[in-house]
């Protein structure tokens, strides 16, 4: 970078330009009059943009430019946002205002910032007429992450004979292995962050969690038009909508862009701005984590391939310790949530150890139970779900004597209202979802 920038003192964040050619989208951003930060997204074996889909493609690409900017904007959080191509229509500006505010809420909390009133995308452009149908082929992009949720979604679509492609963004040997296991065609899209971002970090940029699911969603919207898919089916569950904590009157949700509010916002926006027949949904929305783990417990072929742990360093390999660190909230939660639904020896063979018989893990599980602590900033179920699972185990002779179950029974359970601890209500789906008619039969196979 030729000119030294103090990221935290910048005044203006600029969406400079975006373009697409030969399978590569270029997204350019800048702070003040600094150098361009150019992100590249590579779509492998990209066909030519189908005739008649140019407008839809451009709209999707523009949204991707606007959403992916969140990775850069957060480096400086300047007070003003400028879009070089001109102001946005109200619906678009609203989507982005919401996304940047809520999606960066945890980032703001961690950095002691208050973003309310600070994020204003330029608006005022006239709304365009609603986008027409693009006649997209009836097949689904299913993003997979190597964890259990997306595998449940994949199997649900397979069970209704739906045509689908397993897609993921970035390099991950774990995801590649899981994708391979699904037996579906695969699509691996590459995202290259602007190198300048690392430089900004060195210069003291703000850093923290960004709503990465929103970025990936926007990438997949572009992919859907490019390759021809009528639906994008994520695997975000019900509890993703719950706030992690409240901070100075603002709800902070670690996984806001996996929540129902964002799903509806983006789904409706794609219908009106990109193609009326492009559906964006989460197939697991009506279900609790526990309902999903129960569904996953039936998918034995994945047991030695998946991992939900995002701490581990190898994340691939034949040994459980390669895929599960056994220390992080994800490991704790997935272990606890699967336990009621799997024979104990099978569960322990997946993780390679018994986390619930390890006293050192007490505080980790306390956090899940929201006992003496708040919910950890990870994509894990609600405290009540964790308590229900723990209660179920505490009633089972093969678990009762394990150190943390014993502790739960003697120390925590007496403080809880046992009538609130049943597992069964968690296994009931709620009515709330955004799943298109074509995929609704898949929804029913999960519960």
């Amino acid at each position: 970078m030729s000119k030294m920038i103090q990221p935290r003192l910048t005044q203006l964040f600029r969406f400079v330009r975006c373009s697409y050619a030969d399978g590569v989208a270029e997204l350019a951003y800048a702070f003040d009059d600094g150098e361009e930060l150019v992100e590249r997204i590579r779509f492998p074996h990209a066909p030519a943009i189908p005739a008649g889909h140019a407008a839809a493609f451009d709209a999707a690409l523009k949204l991707l430019h606007l959403i992916a900017g969140v990775s850069y904007y957060k480096a400086g959080v300047p007070p003003k946002i400028e879009v070089a191509s001109g102001p946005l229509d109200d619906a678009t500006a609203e989507l982005l205002d919401q996304l940047y505010l809520h999606g960066l809420a945890e980032f703001a909390y961690r950095n002691g910032l208050d973003l309310r009133g600070r994020i204003t995308f330029p608006r005022g452009a006239a709304a365009q007429p609603p986008a027409p149908a693009a006649g997209l082929p009836k097949r689904t992009l299913v993003p997979i992450g190597g964890g259990k949720d997306s595998l449940v979604a994949v199997e649900a679509i397979k069970s209704i004979g739906g045509e689908a492609t397993a897609v993921w963004v970035g390099n991950s040997a774990l995801i590649a292995a899981c994708a391979e296991r699904t037996g579906l065609p695969t699509l691996n899209i590459q995202r290259e962050l602007a190198p300048g971002l690392f430089e900004l970090n060195r210069l003291g940029a703000w850093n923290g969690h960004i709503p990465v699911t929103a970025v990936n969603s926007a990438i997949l919207a572009v992919a859907a038009i490019l390759y021809g898919y009528d639906s994008i089916a994520f695997a975000n569950e019900r509890s993703a909508s719950a706030a992690t904590l409240e901070y100075e009157g603002q709800q902070v949700n670690h996984q806001w862009s996996k929540g129902y509010a964002f799903e509806q916002l983006l789904g409706n926006w794609l219908h009106t701005h990109v193609a009326s027949d492009l559906d964006y949904c989460s197939l697991l929305r009506p279900y609790s984590e526990l309902a999903i783990t129960r569904a996953f417990a039936k998918l034995m072929p994945y047991f030695d391939a998946f991992s939900s742990c995002n701490r581990n360093f190898k994340l691939l390999g034949p040994k459980p310790a390669d895929r599960w660190c056994g220390q992080c909230p994800k490991c704790h939660f997935v272990f606890l949530a699967l336990a009621p639904f799997l024979p104990k020896p099978r569960l322990l063979s997946i993780f390679g150890r018994n986390l619930l018989d390890d006293e050192n893990q007490a505080s980790g599980f306390d956090a899940l139970l929201e006992y003496q602590d708040h919910k950890p900033f990870e994509c894990v179920g609600e405290g009540a779900e964790a308590r229900a699972a723990m209660y179920a185990l505490s009633q089972r002779p093969e678990w009762q004597e394990d150190a943390l179950i014993e502790r739960f029974r003697s120390e925590i359970l007496p403080q809880l209202d046992a009538s609130q601890l049943a597992l069964e209500p968690w296994l009931e789906p709620s009515a709330e979802h955004h799943v298109p008619t074509r995929l609704q039969p898949a929804l029913a196979t999960i519960g």
Binding site: N171, N201, R202, W206, R311, K314, P343, K344, L348, E398
Partner: protein
């Protein structure tokens, strides 16, 4: 001679069989060849049996026929009549389905065809190649016996055979010819139906034939030279076992070794027919001979094995005490839920049993249902996943006294159960499964160094797996510098004075250059605490090293020697405030490893860039006292305090520029640094200001002869892999011992000797005052009598020093030449943590230091 599926699947492998059989013929033996089906054919036949549809079955039979036609084609042979007849039989069976014979008998008849076909094909090939070979139907020789507890399935699909010697059969064969080929896996029962022998069936067939014919020996030809002292995938240094008795071999096969199915040994025991395991591709290797017990060897542990996936059920109750029938009731529940108990351990109020990882255990409600039933009579605890580590060797009890070091290792683990059977062949420990992969190679080393696994007996133990099959060149131990080129010089130096340390700078340079080949590493620091001798510091400056210090004293010493531009790193632990004040006044990068300094002396660091040493929560290393990770160690900031640290850093305007972790010393597994590196990088990603990662040192230096060296090329590969994922971070390391250990020796002279019952003590003129590592870490240093290097090592010595401490022992049970007063003794690998840790204890004079340029 028995050959498995891959050995009979291609023309070249059949040519190989031809040669081997011909060579046995040349020795005058008559040969019976037992073959498996071609690879994949048994599975294809099983698959065929599952098709309900006739058309699909006929298709499948055709595909199987085609495999054999293809191979015949390769052999340029016409389809022999015997094979044609078998194929049409198979086609008929496939077409008819199971209706006539019944499901199981039909399946057995179909599956038997894999071996029937391969043997018919083999007979044609061998005969055509000039080795007249009779095809023999194994079903005419092996008669299945009915056992009381068999059901129809086991009777037909996993049968047993009467293996009493059959002189009639032997006589009949004698009239028929010299070379025979027959089928593994199949036999015939009393009603004349074809039956299968189940898992390991072909090896077992070979044993049955060996027993029936009272053969000279049974040879199992496979893809490995025999049984090893451990699973070579877990312990590459595992040694080939050249000689075992039946019971030991069966125990090893039952507790882990896959090369031989345990059931194939029992038929041979009574007729005392030896079994030889040989490698088809390397017939020149000796292999493993299994035969009757021979009493010409010192008792030794023969093997260590691990079985994983074990579940323990621990039952606790005061009710059981002296109560008749309690255990019978308890075990009835296990039977009821279809769970078979393996090991049992019991105390007055507790019974713990182990269960093997069966399908029933893993994927049914069995364990939950069992626990519910048991909970009515006792407290139940289900403990998993566990692993059973078994030491096997005849006369295990007489070896117990040698196992103290091994047992001490178990002392640091959760051992759930210990079992020793009355046959005196094994000793089993049940531990948490997660520790096994690292524990096993370590235990194997410990057994060798404890003298419990007597690898010095070349009768019993062959080469290591690494040497036989390891990738690339087996690392031949380079001759140590002191053994040849510098020996005379050392003897002269010792004649001047002892004790004294001698450092060989070319070795330091060589080690430094080797580390400089690590392309992924951006900066190497020499951890000077290992050895602060100025000549060594200067040599490493010349090799481009930076320097890591842990105290102001070290900083001063290094600064006095190295040029201004050489980077320094200060990595203290529990240092007082003034140490940081001092270090901040130098050019050294300062590492903090706890909250305290930034919490209480935060302003000291304002505006400064620091390195943060974190504790990744686990430790590694060759001894507890050298592990520097995990809650039990005083080093590093625990990860749960990271957020607070960063907040305090922010408050005081301190920039965290680097992250550092160091888990321990003497680590020989290259993958370890890759893990530390990747883990630090993923932490660094959340910090932003970080530009470099210091993954510490701890590069192991093997001490025992034959122990594998750290694979630097592999380390480079691992580091590069992580670097590709995190190119934004510079990579630092701080090796110490690796650079200097081999370069230094301690010279001493023999003072006196003493005999005490079986023990012989060899006294030398220095001990723990000069070299404390053996006492402190149980470190093993090679010790040689430099004056008598070429004399036969006939004495077994305890090498001790003159310090008034029982722990003043430099080496135990050392095989050395008979020594004389005044002999020069050399203690190797003393270049690191030798002189720097020495003391005046007992007010004995310190060893001086000599440098060889």
């Amino acid at each position: 001679m028995k050959f498995g599926g891959t050995s009979v699947a291609t023309l070249p492998r059949w040519q190989n069989i031809l040669e081997l059989v011909a060579s046995r013929r040349a020795e005058g033996a008559r040969v019976l060849v037992v073959v498996s089906a071609l690879t994949g054919i048994t599975d294809a036949l099983k698959q065929l049996c599952t098709h309900g549809d006739k058309g699909k079955r006929i298709e499948a039979a055709k595909a199987i026929a085609q495999r054999h036609y293809d191979l015949l084609d390769h052999m340029q042979l016409a389809v022999p009549d015997t094979l044609g007849a078998r194929l049409s039989e198979l086609a008929t069976l496939a077409e008819n389905g199971s209706a006539v014979l019944g499901e199981l008998a039909w399946a057995a008849a179909i599956q038997a065809h894999g071996e029937l076909l391969s043997s018919a094909l083999g007979a044609a090939f061998l005969s055509h190649s000039g080795l007249p070979t009779q095809w023999l139907d194994a079903r005419d020789c092996l008669a299945a016996i009915a056992l009381p507890n068999q059901n129809e399935r086991t009777r037909l699909l996993s049968s047993m055979v009467d293996s009493r010697p059959d002189p009639v059969l032997a006589a009949r064969l004698a009239t028929l010819g010299e070379v025979f080929i027959t089928q593994g896996f199949i036999a015939r029962e009393s009603q004349g139906r074809t039956v299968l022998l189940g898992r390991g069936g072909s090896d077992t067939s070979a044993s049955y034939f060996g027993a029936l014919l009272k053969a000279q020996r049974v040879e199992i030809w496979t893809d490995v030279a025999g049984m090893f002292t451990a699973n070579p995938r877990q312990v590459p240094g595992a040694r080939l076992l050249q000689r075992l008795d039946y019971e030991e071999a069966q125990e090893i096969a039952s507790t882990g070794a896959k090369v031989l199915h345990p059931r194939c040994l029992s038929p041979l025991r009574e007729p005392r027919v030896p079994l030889l395991i040989k490698d088809t591709n390397r017939p020149e290797l000796d292999g493993t001979v299994i035969g009757p017990e021979v009493r010409a060897h010192a008792p030794s542990v023969k093997a260590i094995s691990a079985r994983k996936g074990i579940t323990l059920v621990s039952m606790e109750s005061v009710g059981m005490w002296q109560q008749v029938g309690f255990l019978a009731d308890v075990f009835a529940h296990f039977k009821q839920h279809g769970l078979s108990v393996d090991l049992i351990g019991s105390a007055e109020t507790n019974v713990t049993v182990s269960l093997d990882p069966t399908e029933n255990l893993l994927d049914s409600d069995a364990i939950a249902a069992l626990a519910s039933d048991l909970a009515k009579v006792c407290r139940v605890k289900v403990i998993a996943p566990c692993a059973a580590i078994t030491l096997v060797g005849r006369g295990m009890r007489s070896l117990l006294h040698t196992l103290s070091g091994v047992l001490a290792e178990f002392g640091q683990l959760r051992v759930h159960m210990i079992s020793q059977s009355s046959n005196n062949l094994n000793l089993t420990f049940v531990v948490d499964e997660e520790v096994v992969d690292t524990l096993l190679p370590h235990l194997h080393d410990l057994l060798i160094s404890a003298g419990a696994l007597r690898t010095d007996d070349s009768e019993l133990f062959g080469p290591s797996w690494q040497t036989l099959y390891g990738s690339g060149e087996a690392p031949s131990a380079a001759t140590a510098w002191w053994r040849e080129s510098q020996r005379q010089r050392l003897l002269e130096l010792a004649a001047e004075a002892t004790p004294r340390y001698v450092y060989h700078l070319p070795t330091v340079r060589q080690q430094a250059r080797e580390l400089n080949t690590l392309a992924a590493v951006d900066r190497l620091h020499y951890a000077v605490k290992a050895n602060t001798h100025p000549a060594i510091l200067r040599a490493l400056v010349a090799e481009g090293f930076a320097f890591e210090c842990v105290s102001p004293g070290e900083l001063r010493a290094v600064s006095a020697i190295v040029p201004e531009a050489t980077p320094l790193l200060f990595t203290p632990n529990f240092a007082p405030r003034e140490d940081y004040v001092f270090a901040l006044g130098t050019r050294a990068a300062v590492t903090l490893d706890s909250l305290y300094p930034i919490e209480h002396w935060g302003e000291l660091f304002r505006g400064r860039e620091i390195v943060l040493r974190v504790d990744l929560g686990r430790g590694l290393g060759h001894h507890e006292k050298v592990r520097t990770g995990g809650s039990g160690s005083k080093f590093g900031l625990p990860l749960d305090q990271l957020a607070i640290f960063l907040q305090l850093a922010e408050t005081h305007g301190v920039i965290v520029r680097g992250l550092h972790a160091h888990l321990g010393s003497g680590v020989l597994d290259a993958g370890h640094w890759g893990e530390v590196y990747a883990q630090l990088a993923s932490l660094a990603e959340r910090i932003g200001s970080v530009t470099f990662l210091n993954i510490g040192g701890g590069l192991g230096v093997p001490s025992h002869p034959g122990e594998a060296r750290l694979d630097i090329a592999e380390l480079d590969r691992v580091l590069r892999e992580v670097k590709a994922a995190y190119p934004q971070y510079q990579l630092w390391m701080e090796p110490g011992r690796y650079l200097v250990a081999d370069a230094g020796v301690l010279l001493a002279r023999v003072t006196q000797q003493k005999g005490k019952s079986a023990f012989r003590y060899l006294g030398i003129d220095t001990g723990m005052n000069s070299l404390i590592r053996p006492a402190l870490y149980d470190a093993w240093h090679e010790i040689v009598n430099l004056s008598r290097l070429d004399e036969p090592a006939t004495a077994l010595y305890q090498v001790v020093g003159p310090i008034c401490e029982s722990g003043d022992v430099l080496g135990t049970d050392r095989r050395l030449p008979e020594a004389q007063e005044g002999d020069v003794m050399l203690i190797a690998q003393a270049g690191a943590y030798g002189k720097v840790m020495s003391s005046h204890y007992n007010l004995r004079d310190e060893a001086d230091e000599i440098v060889i340029e």
